[in-house]
Symmetry: C2
Subunit: 397 residues, 2 copies
């Protein structure tokens, strides 16, 4: 029959990635590790590193973006904006220290290695931003979102994302040879106003407005549809302002957190449940183990990864030390994963021609390794924390 | 900031299509028309016909395929296989008559117009297959899936889909100059065994197996994840066998219908709710009104559309006349929409070079027009039917 191969493409890739991710997640849970590790490893297994059955492509990118968008939307719904703002000062210090230390460590290491100044600062920039999706998924799945450390991580990760994008803008400007100070300042101010504005006033405003709009609508699932429109609109607005779409998704969730019911959360949860594996496996897919056949590159990757882990642990840990040592440890570990954010910086550097292919490989290694290593450490750090009844967060009802 | 435009692309298209679809659905409901019409019209409005803000592309195709896949999976869950098999004989007659009449009508009209024999039979083939997604979405949204006429439509539409793909295979063979009889017979037999086998034994087998597997799994939402894996696997298997992925999706839903709980249905519903608008608007997007500036083409489109509507009404209505006139009318109207299925046939004809661009336009017009016209007629035909309490199907809980 005609066009069989084309028609099979989508269900094949859906089955391969979703099935493998869930299988490895199950295996990880059995040996006492977080399932999220299995889902990332599924990408490594299916991708160019091992089996080479699936290559990164546009369709997978879309599925992965949908996954992380709905993931952060869902997490945003579970926390109160007021509580995030309550840990705001600590989160700001955590984010600032967690940006500065990795950046300088990356720069310094690469300067010692002897690459160009631009390449060195790009590596630093790639080590800056935390992949909030990874930690958020872990915390949500384990019912830990209501912990003080968890809220600090979420608030700090949002600030960190804004800072990370500013750092990226600066190093891109440097690479292009002209620093646009006014443009950078405008972006910074607008991004701050947008983030704080939505967090501070969004949920209060929607609590009054949403029920009124809903009453006037005759379509089914009107509240859910309004939430989804807000999700897409704020994601888009965030990109236009110059920050990541997922920050907009998180803010949309936050804004709706006081005006959604169980039903809207369940429907959102369904979408996240289907697409998050594509986000997680998508990170693993980017790794190409063959890039590390050279001993020198492997050593450099290990050094950069160690630096990425230690600098976040120290920077973010010190920033939250007044919460006590165990919370500081949780925050430090929670900020470790670099995931897709680090890789985006590396790809931009590659496309600008300022970083070389081997260094690109090093950054991808660092991004995947920090992402795979953080969840088991998080498991240990949160051990002894009273887990919230699962059904109140995203688990079985 | 770098790559702003690329990053904005996905949220922009998500917002445009989802937002417009839901807005027009709301407007349609207000004027007493089914919301589904508004969602299809949203595609016409945003697409090349009017605003030209969105063009069909690979990403939209994926979102649309996800939409119709989850739509039929959800519908499958709501019906019992035994009940479908109970109306099986009627459905078979409905499907056969509903395939034969439109095929010969299309062929005859085009023969009178004077196109080549191959082009004429391709138009006939494009008029054969019902887009079960459209009627299923209407029936599900209105809480009418438990009606006898609804079950007859679903069963007939599945058979119709198998027949339609066989007709397509035959005409493609004819176009390529060699009819592979053994290949066609094999496809027909395997497709029948697959469909009837899953419908007959699937849900009974899973009712015993699923709870046992679930007990052994430690991952959250294990039952939902098993259902999703079955959805992707059966969709893929259906394509390999030579029938449409959505038939596999429907059968997966059917197989799980007796072993899913409220939770699995809600999570599935969330995914369908987000992606179905992309399927519906995607149909409207394909239309190019500028193709109909020529009076002759417009007239031909109107004639073909009228023939497509009348032949399904008569063929399917007569096939189910022993259920009484009102049920026969419902079945006849329910089988009218050709949606994406007719367009796929047209695209294959275009790619094989056997149909000309104007005739392609005529088929797309017929596909969109039958799809937009059917839901209002369905509304009238099902008026007076006791609608099932909405929360028992896919509405607000």
């Amino acid at each position: 029959l005609p066009s069989n191969a084309a028609a099979a493409q989508l269900p094949l890739v859906l089955l391969l990635i979703f099935g493998t991710a869930k299988l490895l997640a199950e295996l990880c849970e059995r040996i006492g590790q977080p399932g999220i590790v299995g889902e990332i490893v599924a990408g490594v297994l299916l991708g160019p590193s091992v089996l080479n059955w699936v290559q990164p492509n546009d369709v997978l990118t879309v599925l992965s973006e949908l996954g992380v968008m709905f993931l952060l939307f869902r997490v945003g719904m579970e926390v109160r904006a007021s509580e995030l703002l309550g840990v705001g000062r600590t989160a700001l210090i955590v984010a600032l220290a967690g940006v500065a230390l990795p950046f300088f460590a990356g720069w310094l290491i690469m300067a010692i290695v002897g690459v160009s100044r631009t390449e060195a600062i790009f590596v630093g920039a790639a080590m800056v931003a935390t992949s909030v999706g990874i930690t958020a998924q872990f915390l949500g799945a384990k019912g830990l979102l209501q912990e003080r450390a968890s809220k600090t991580i979420l608030a700090a990760a949002v600030i960190d994302d804004v800072l990370g994008l500013l750092v990226l803008a600066v190093v891109t400007n440097v690479a292009e040879g002209q620093v646009n100070v006014i443009g950078l300042l405008t972006t910074a101010v607008v991004a701050c106003l947008f983030t704080v504005g939505i967090a501070k006033f969004g949920s209060r405003a929607l609590k009054h407005v949403v029920p009124k709009i809903e009453q006037r609508l005759s379509e089914r699932e009107a509240r859910f549809n309004l939430a989804i429109i807000a999700l897409f609109a704020l994601s888009l607005l965030a990109v236009y302002i110059g920050i990541a779409a997922i920050v907009g998704a998180f803010l949309a969730g936050l804004a709706f957190s006081e005006s959604v019911d169980r039903r809207v959360k369940d429907l959102t949860h369904g979408v996240a449940e289907v697409f998050v594996p594509f986000f997680l496996a998508g990170i693993g897919l980017e790794l190409r183990l063959s890039d590390f056949s050279e001993g020198r590159i492997l050593l450099l990757s290990a050094v950069i990864t160690a630096a990425a882990l230690i600098t976040k642990l120290i920077g973010c840990g010190i920033g939250s030390l007044h919460f006590g040592r165990s919370d500081a440890l949780r925050v430090g570990i929670g900020m470790m994963p670099r995931g897709e954010v680090g890789m985006v910086v590396a790809q931009i550097g590659l496309s600008l021609g300022v970083i070389e292919k081997p260094v690109y490989g090093v950054i991808v290694f660092m991004a995947v390794a920090t992402t795979v290593l953080a969840p088991p450490f998080l498991s240990l750090a949160f051990r002894g924390c009273k887990q919230k009844a699962a059904e109140e967060e995203f688990s079985l009802a």
